[in-house]
Symmetry: C2
């Protein structure tokens, strides 16, 4: 496995793999790798000849009051994990390598970024789409892999790739969970033991939502109220709990089309997100 | 020469040229081809193995009151010219092919788009950067060719390619002029014979500006006032006459760095633009 720090180096490595007739699978990450990332890498490994993982804590997707400064940085463990998963290249550039001058160019996806995390984290998704565009242009992958845990990000990146005709495919892989159901996230390591026990409430609220839907509840308001009670009782604070059309991300008053149930909660000062897809006809759930 | 209407077809044609080891030179146009485009194509022909010309009157770069509807469309003449210049592929997609669904994703370059044509044509440059991104992703060129006549566009596209790490080079070619100095433009065909005589005033104003600078004038205000008089006397109306830093496009009070002198004028209802670069140390001009 190669650990590469410059754009020139990763471009040369990918070009060589390309000349050998290999397809390129790309997993963009901010490092602090966990089982969720492993599942993306394994999926890529099963579909592509050359696997590139980028590790870059992207400053332009953090707000001024967010956790950019103390976001976990664990490059040594991350490269060990990548090596064990038979990654070909880890691309770990510096901020100066990625942003050598003031960035003036932004990729923005309208409408899909207005609600959910887009509403509570202004500029976040614009930072994500912009850095993904840069990384896609550097790595030139055939397929790029994202987690369903960041549901809005997945919808936004997919639409960006369609709208801008990127010559590549976006693959979205299911959320990976701890034994008790907590969605695995790099930010889980911020949680104290007590907060860790509280944090399962996001998953529990989604599971109860599933039951109510199975029992016939279709009003978003009712479902959201019940979920909010579960979260509050556990001692967490809901930032949003939303039921939206799974493709347009527009709010739905009731379950009349395939839906995304998404929530963001504070457990202590840590912001956690989770979601569930509801498909109608026939009714099924992806959680 | 191949005339291709779908993204799938042009991608296949480019991929074949690529497999033959050819470099790809790309000239994006809105058709109504003239000697300015020919110079771009000839430059591309001298540098690349496979030349692609796109012909697409892009709706997203026209304002609601602008000339999208009656912009000249001359596909047959255009393809004849391309054939004579040994173009390999003309890509002439429909609006439905380029925008099969409502476009939600926009590429925006801040600061550089605030003044000049960006100020008088809101959304225009965003439409240009977005469609160029789409076309670059479709054609995947090694080099793309733009004219210095659209000076702000050239600076903006160059910056976009840098900021977003597009794996390609932007080549800007000098403005091509009629015998009397009028910059060649597809919109010149809107001019009546009398307006055509008036239209040379943009070039004359630039030439006089050059003389004043050679004689030692460095105040932007003085230079602009004099240019405005020339334009007004000819019966044209200046939309803007600006002297800006040639890299940042920020207004300059006096010639203290390499400068772009740019103007947009109405001759009748036709909007014409022209510009001149001034390099200091040693003093020289590109017009």
């Amino acid at each position: 496995m190669q650990l590469l720090k410059t754009i020139e180096e990763i471009r040369a490595a990918v070009a060589q793999a390309r000349r050998q007739g290999k397809t390129i699978g790309f997993v963009p990450t901010m490092g602090a790798l966990h089982a969720g990332h492993s599942s993306l890498i394994q999926k890529a490994r099963s579909q592509c000849g050359c696997i590139v993982v980028s590790i870059f804590v992207n400053p332009t997707q953090f707000g001024p009051t967010e956790d950019f400064g103390h976001y976990p940085r664990t490059l040594e463990e991350d490269t060990c994990l990548c090596e064990s998963l038979r990654v070909d290249c880890v691309f770990a550039p510096s901020a100066e390598e990625m942003y050598p001058q003031k960035n003036l160019t932004w990729v923005d996806v309208e409408q899909l970024t207005a609600g959910l995390c887009g509403a509570s984290r202004p500029g976040h998704l614009r930072g994500v789409t912009t850095v993904c565009t840069k990384l896609f242009h550097i790595v030139l992958p055939d397929k790029a892999y994202f987690g369903q845990k960041d549901a809005q990000q997945a919808v936004v990146i997919r639409r960006m790739v369609e709208d801008l005709n990127f010559p590549m495919e976006v693959i979205v892989c299911p959320t990976v969970r701890e034994a008790d159901g907590l969605a695995i996230s790099s930010r889980n390591r911020y949680l104290s033991p007590e907060q860790r026990r509280q944090a399962v409430c996001l998953y529990q609220a989604l599971c109860r939502c599933k039951e109510w839907v199975q029992q016939g509840t279709i009003s978003s308001r009712e479902l959201i109220e019940q979920m909010n009670q579960i979260v509050s009782k556990a001692g967490a604070q809901a930032e949003y709990i939303s039921i939206v059309d799974s493709r347009t991300l527009q709010s739905m008053e009731s379950l009349t089309a395939d839906a995304l149930v998404a929530l963001a909660c504070r457990v202590g000062t840590t912001r956690l997100i989770d979601n569930m897809l509801i498909f109608l006809n026939p009714l099924r759930f992806q959680i």
